[in-house]
Symmetry: C2
Subunit: 270 residues, 2 copies
């Protein structure tokens, strides 16, 4: 047997799930595939053994065991084995309602997903679907969402490391110093990097300068304080975010949030 | 302290989550509330202690500890304590992208959710949000989706029981007999119910007659067989679904699915 396909079908369409699985399979000898038109559903594949390659537009990706790749509907699909040995994959064809998460691109590849994570997700979903109940389908959707979240988190943790340095050390330091006014100069001294290297790091990971990022952390803290205690004076909140001058704080807040602190507080009341 | 509010804020809006939490809180003494305009987000509340009541349109709901209720955005919100003692609730304000799941109505109440399920979900989400990281927010979204699914499953299991009888016993019996042609008469004999009572049961839970439901189970099986082995003859698939006459099977299939078995098979190929 080269292939085992599990078809997820339920006649009860009385509910709307954010994810629903159509078919899934393990392919013990994945053949080469060229689908310029793509498929009408999302397609998620995890390579279990062997090596392959994927072409997407001008890009070439080498696929190793563990790697996960996802195509959006109608995105071109080209994948090939390495020529030496056949490869074995698990795949799931699924739908999303609403906007698709995480993946802004038509093709998403994750190089940092442990193979065991995918195997356990496929196993859970397979069992749930084979129950052939609505409950089983709902639980399969939860398992798929959970898996998509896990691979995204794995990727983010990999992205946070630039040249072996974990940039969250800097952002954690910032979070501990929100009552202060940190400078680029001060940060570069603490972390023994040049100012320009620090800027490059932040730009690569957060698409912002270190100081922009620091101010946004302060604004986040201010938002939390404004909402969690509706009575606290804005002057005191400003101080807790490192702004002695309440008027200046209000100006910065408005620049980032689009409204003054007091209007923000009123607008968000539950 | 009467209230502890946790505000979920992250400045990184680079991802789209199917669920995202805005604020959550435990209210030790929930006051009466009248919001004819509702709130701009989804609002989920679980009663932890005390008794309350909710008005929604013409309907009145008595609220006991454990009960969960959810309002869609802009749906009128009226709730009151029982008059004798104050009540304590957990609440979460959240957004959904895409279509909301499960709840076709603007107001959804679940009477069958174990109190511990809600408490553990609130606790997980609270911890995740307080991490103040993107990863934490994603995991909070997974926990919320998982909880919404669990309460829906609890409710379905309660709905399946009518007058103390679990209707899934009948649907399981049908699933074991898909190669046969069951009749209403035969079913009523097996389960010692009158035919008309059996019809009422099925109409209440599945909004179909028992025989319609049975045919849909056969069609589901046929769909699975058509897709999981692209080579199997349609005549043989018909037989496995209890249809000796392939032409008659194709007619029934087309009536339920909107296309012939062979066109369905081609249309679904991944």
């Amino acid at each position: 047997m080269k292939r085992e396909v599990i078809v997820a079908i339920t006649s009860e369409n009385i509910y709307q799930l954010p994810y629903s699985i159509n078919t899934m399979a393990v392919d013990w000898a994945q053949r080469d595939l060229e689908r310029p038109e793509g498929t009408k559903n999302y397609l998620l594949i995890q390579c279990l053994s062997g090596y392959g390659k994927i072409h997407f537009g001008d890009k070439r990706f080498s696929i190793e065991p563990g790697d996960v790749f996802i195509w959006k509907p109608d995105a071109e699909q080209y994948y090939y084995d390495s020529g030496n040995e056949s490869w074995c994959v698990n795949w799931i064809s699924f739908n999303c309602i609403g906007l698709p998460i995480y993946m802004e691109e038509s093709f998403y590849v994750s190089k940092d997903c442990p193979i065991s994570l995918g195997l356990s997700m496929f196993d859970t979903i397979k069992k749930r679907i084979q129950e052939e109940t609505v409950e089983g389908h709902i639980q399969a959707a939860v398992a798929l969402f959970s898996f998509l979240s896990e691979i995204y988190i794995c990727d983010r943790q990999a992205i946070n490391k630039v040249d072996g340095f974990d940039i969250t050390l800097v952002s954690d330091y910032m979070k501990q110093n929100l009552t202060k006014q940190l400078t680029l100069d001060g940060l570069s001294e603490v972390f023994h990097f040049s100012e320009s290297y620090l800027c490059r790091l932040f730009n690569r990971v957060y698409h912002r300068t270190p100081i922009q990022y620091f101010i946004e952390l302060k604004i986040d803290k201010a938002k939390r304080l404004l909402l969690s205690d509706g009575e606290e004076k804005i002057r005191d909140i400003a101080k807790q975010c490192g702004y002695e001058d309440q008027v200046y704080f209000a100006r910065v807040f408005k620049k980032y949030v689009g409204m003054s602190p007091s209007i923000y507080r009123k607008s968000q009341v539950q």
